[in-house]
């Protein structure tokens, strides 16, 4: 029994701590501002724990020492009186020191959140029920393009996110990289992120926004500047033209059915903007805001019945024959 208890004491914190790392954790920080936030919170928790312990010890000692009943009224000796005054002054002074210490620390931590520089990359992120539209710019207007639910950034560079809500309020939160920032309709908000380490960081909408709020995730992929350049140049290209008969059939279906009225595939006539840009949908890790990994099968499942998979989302169930469904999902999977 003793051993089991001891084991529990060791294992429970280990299990709890194991939940602290991973691709979506404020305690596994790899962004400049997330690191300074994490340091600040650890410092505050540590200092407050010490203060709490000291207060508890003083309280218990006081109760213990005076556990015998005393006749009332209590009239302290002048020496005790002096000690009491000194203790109160010391406690007030300590409180002032701790609180002003916190204020100064959080001033510096907050300043670190606003890291600015000249080498900024600007990305516009729009929140919609229930997915993220991501827009990149370039020196020339042809270099502008849109993608969805997956944001690539170069490591070690400041990236300025311009955030905007298109229907209701959403909140952009990548715990491993930075704090939250709301996307408010009609208001331009900004957030600067710098990733210190390459990796895939998961983000999540952090403001309740309706039925599928829980399924409104995205990825931030931080990669070396070379890889980032390669990615952005590939994304700027229009969609590949179908090379096989089946893929060509899928493209025809896509263009003839309602799909094209809601989705854009650059390089074809499809130019709708109600749904995510699908020009390179096959290159993205997930579809439907983090619901499925992108495979031909998951694309087919999604297209066949989006309302059962993600009830209430804004893509309707479009009636397709099995052949059309097979061809259209093959076509979309081929859009690398």
């Amino acid at each position: 029994m003793r051993r089991a208890t001891r084991l529990a004491w060791v294992v429970t914190p280990a299990v709890l701590l194991a939940g602290c790392d991973g691709w979506q954790s404020a305690l596994d920080a790899h962004g400049t501002s997330a690191v300074s936030l994490k340091q600040l919170i650890i410092l505050i928790v540590a200092v407050c724990s010490v203060v709490w312990m000291l207060v508890m010890i003083a309280l218990i000692m006081a109760l213990w020492r005076n556990r015998r009943e005393r006749p009332l009224p209590v009239t302290p000796q002048p020496s005790t009186q002096r000690r009491m005054t000194a203790t109160v002054i010391a406690a007030v002074a300590a409180t002032t020191v701790v609180i002003s210490g916190f204020t100064i620390m959080s001033f510096f931590a907050t300043r670190a959140l606003g890291i600015g520089g000249n080498d900024e990359l600007t990305i516009k992120v729009r929140g919609l029920q229930w997915w993220w539209s991501v827009e990149y710019f370039g020196a020339r207007s042809e270099e502008r393009f849109e993608t969805a639910n997956e944001i690539h950034i170069p490591v070690g560079r400041n990236v300025r996110f311009k955030l905007e809500g298109l229907d209701v309020i959403h909140s952009f939160w990548v715990p491993s990289l930075a704090g939250k920032q709301d996307l408010v309709p009609g208001r331009a908000n900004e957030l600067i992120i710098r990733a210190e380490k390459p990796g895939i960081y998961r983000g999540q909408c952090a403001e309740f926004c309706g039925m599928q709020h829980a399924h409104m995730a995205f990825l931030v992929i931080a990669e070396s500047p070379d890889e980032f350049d390669k990615w952005i140049n590939a994304q700027r290209q229009p969609a590949v033209q179908p090379s096989e008969e089946e893929l060509a059939g899928g493209q025809r279906t896509f263009l003839e059915k309602p799909c094209a009225a809601c989705h854009t595939v650059r390089g074809t006539a499809a130019s709708g903007t109600t749904g995510p840009d699908l020009t390179h949908v096959g290159s993205r890790k997930y579809i439907a805001a983090g619901l499925f990994e992108t495979t031909r099968g998951s694309l087919a499942a999604w297209i066949a019945d989006p309302q059962t998979i993600k009830p209430g989302n804004n893509m309707p169930m479009v009636p397709l024959t099995p052949e059309e469904l097979r061809a259209v999902s093959a076509y979309l999977a081929s859009l690398k």
């Binding site: 009609g186 059915k257 309602p258 009225a261 109600t274 009830p311 309707p316 009636p319």
Partner: protein, 187 residues
Amino acid sequence: MRIATLLTGLAIAVAGCQREERQLRLDPPIAEALDKVALMPNGISGAPPNVYFALEKPYETNAYNLSQGKRLYSWFGCKTCHGNGEGGIGPAFLDGWWYYGPDMVSIFASIRDGRPHGMPAYRDKMTTDQIWQLAGYVQTIGSYAGKTAAPSRSDEKHTRPAENRAPAKIQFDQGPTPLHPDQGPTP
């Protein structure tokens, strides 16, 4: 006696808690059946399919469907020609005049099949469900009679009475927007 009253009151209150059903997904056979409206030969007026009544006219009485219709109205660019209902290149929906009739079937047909003087067909751009939702919304903004269900509020500046302030009759005095002389039925 007191207890009976209390229990009745409670039962009524609980009954009032029922939440409106949201039809998020139409079974394909129902969607197909809903597409089969019986139009008159001139494409104006007719009868909705029987399922429409079996479902209790969901596109006129269900607030979720009306809200979706309102979103589709801007997503599919109806505003570019019809404005917020006051008209433009296309006819107004607020003036009480309809070239092709104010009933759901006529509006559904106008959207699905298009109309000769410049109304594009949306048959291949939307699902049947969406066309019905849109028709319900268009009918609501130009409604002759008040409805108990209303779509969600507008965030932008109001250019006309809110949809639930029906009937929009005050607008009727302006008379029809003279688009072309090929008038259909009038109110």
